[in-house]
Symmetry: C2
Subunit: 415 residues, 2 copies
């Protein structure tokens, strides 16, 4: 089958739409998102997940016959719910026709509850980012304060697009903590959030469907939907940022574990007698290789606070002290990633987060350390059977895009 | 739905069969094992995996309508391929009718290539073990020597049952090494086996379908088919024996990883500067908590060799020195199991292998140590959402039964 390069949000220029109000289109779309059987509904859900796609890919995704797909696409086109566009041409030959949900047909929002920011993005159904901004908030903020802020700021962003919060197809919430299937925060590095029922908290204030998950799980959904994991059924994502988190995807499904706590890689214990970690244990990978730890060391050595952005820029610009700290973190991280590889025999590692923005400076020593800390050595394996290490596509905004992807994926799960 | 207690191999007394030759029945059965569509074929494959079952369970397993199941069961009964039996009654009420494949309709064999033994079992299609014996072999034996031995000994066991090797529906091979999807041994604690293509090696000498997998993966299949994991879609099995191995089952599927190396828990590195491990790395869990290590310590302290059986018996009988060694191994193992829990947020751990035969002596300190080494603490969780630790059902012969189960599961995968 012809491999289609899937456009990233914004890559694809959707042609002018026939004038039709977004609310009218959303009213047509909403029932299709939940109907389990209609071919049109199955196509819409597949496209909500994959973004722009081809009829051939839809046959594969839905299991419907080519003729059924063609007929249903015709009806959806007539209703104004989907649009056609030529795929970016890779060279010779007739361009592939990509069809996409009409961006006007609905909007989804993603909200990240970060350590010192709340980030809010809105995307359309063609996966284009319509707005994406960060609102600073004081450390260890309270859930209700955060919610009031989201209500006001998201309301403002919606108004700028001519809609209300209630018009959104859904809101995805991302937080740096395990989140149970029902939306319960299971413990968090933000004080006061453990035990909060995120979905319940938001249900009244935000009058549209709300879904919640761990931020790295959302990051993996973003990479699956638009990024480095498109078409990859089995991979592990590891996010090296102030903290360290991750996600495990197995046969195309995000693995959440018993209470959403799967892939808490930052809390792999490398030394039970090591430094205390905010999680309550000691010697966690995060305490030895998380960027917070590196920044503390950099600040200790230089006598002044260093931001993550400055650290990354310094390392990339060739500061030997920062590069040395980065290499040491990569070496220790390779031990942690080796533990993951020994458990899962992972075919693909997607490396994201701030430290990944240093590229090979971090990736190369990480890969080398992994080889020393895992059972199946690459040297033993044919070149096409070695585990791959790649950088994520979204190193700056994966989480908030992932929160949007969470809505698209969850919508598809309703049926 | 009524929960049926599934009988273990040998539990169920199959009534006398109408006289019909096994070869005739096998000739009727073989095409059904591979036909993708016929309801009878789907029932036979489901029963090959589950063993004795009820019509209600078959509806669930196959997705076929109750009436279709009834009709197809009637035909299979008439052909002599299935038999009915009353389920062991759990108390009051009319006994549930269990149907089972006619044991005469086919035989499968399982072969374990162990460190110093080759173990061979033959089961019938009702999952009863017809023969199971161990043949000693000198350490670090050669693949061809082992194959010649299997050919002779399995041939003898078949002859005792009035069949030839060629009459077997399949042979499952288990070895303590990662095995790739195509049957390639990826490295082994038995010398000379790394790089051997097990399936190819056996293809000519053993004239029936041959399937191969890691011994702990086979153990998990045995627990899924007949043991502690029946009806459990997500679990991790950890085998604490001379070495330490395991298996990960996710949504009912055994996770093999990139080259069959998933769940090599014995090679989780606890200390990169620790004692060398035969795998080539240092400080692997196996070097600190494997029974080989405990036996070496026990021998060092007592001045004479100690067998695993003697060690287990001594610990169970209350020898404080052995109990102390066992508790230390459980403590270290809890760190390793904590790492697994941090990666997978596992709902169920099934503990097997020799050390598991000491029961709570090993399990209780393991559980306590796990709690100290994992992120999501049980104390934070409601009682019904805590990870469970249970002993495996087959602590003596899981691997060889699992090799048989491998044949039954693989047969079902052909279609």
């Amino acid at each position: 089958m012809k491999k289609v390069r899937r456009p990233a949000p914004g890559d694809i220029a959707i042609p002018e739409t026939p004038v039709q109000s977004g609310t009218m289109l959303a009213d047509k779309l909403r029932p299709l998102l939940t109907d389990p059987d209609l071919p049109g509904a199955r196509i819409v859900r597949a496209m909500a997940i994959t973004g722009a796609t081809t009829a051939v890919e839809l046959v594969k995704a839905t299991g419907l016959a080519r003729s059924t797909i063609s007929q249903a696409l015709g009806q959806l086109r007539k209703a104004g719910l989907i649009l056609d566009a030529d795929a970016p041409s890779g060279g010779m030959g007739r361009p592939t026709v990509l069809c996409s949900l009409n961006p006007e047909a609905g909007r989804c929002a993603g909200v990240l509850f970060g350590l010192d920011e709340i980030r809010i993005a809105i995307c359309d159904m063609a996966h284009s980012v319509l707005s994406d901004r960060s609102v600073p908030i004081a450390h260890d903020y309270d859930p209700r304060t955060a919610l009031a802020l989201v209500q006001a700021e998201l309301g403002r962003d919606c108004a700028a697009l001519g809609i209300r919060i209630a018009d959104l197809l859904g809101i995805g919430l991302a937080i740096s903590a395990p989140v149970s299937e029902t939306g319960l925060v299971m413990g968090s590095s933000i004080l006061n959030w453990a035990g909060v029922d995120l979905v319940e908290l938001c249900a009244h204030a935000l009058p549209c469907p709300v879904h919640a998950d761990n931020e790295s799980h959302c990051g993996a959904l973003a990479e699956m939907t638009w990024g480095a994991a498109v078409g990859e059924p089995d991979f592990v994502l590891i996010k090296f940022d102030l903290g360290i988190g991750g996600a495990i995807v197995c046969a195309g499904s995000l693995q959440r574990g018993l209470h959403g706590g799967a892939a808490e890689f930052g809390h792999l214990i490398l030394d039970p007698d090591g430094d205390p970690c905010p999680c309550g244990n000691r010697g966690c990978l995060e305490t030895r290789a998380g960027a917070s730890h590196l920044l503390a060391l950099a600040a200790g050595a230089g006598g002044q606070e260093v931001s993550l952005a400055d650290f990354i820029a310094g390392a990339v610009d060739g500061r030997p002290d920062y590069q040395q700290l980065l290499a040491t973190a990569a070496e220790r991280s390779g031990w942690g990633v080796g533990l993951i590889g020994t458990v899962l025999d992972t075919p693909l590692f997607i490396i994201t987060g701030g430290l990944a923005r240093t590229g090979e400076l971090f990736l190369e020593p990480l890969r080398q350390s992994y080889e020393r800390h895992t059972l199946c050595k690459s040297a033993m394996l044919p070149a096409d059977r070695r585990p791959r290490f790649v950088l994520g596509k979204f190193l700056a905004n994966d989480t908030v895009l992932g929160a949007v992807a969470l809505v698209l994926h969850q919508q598809s799960r309703i049926a």
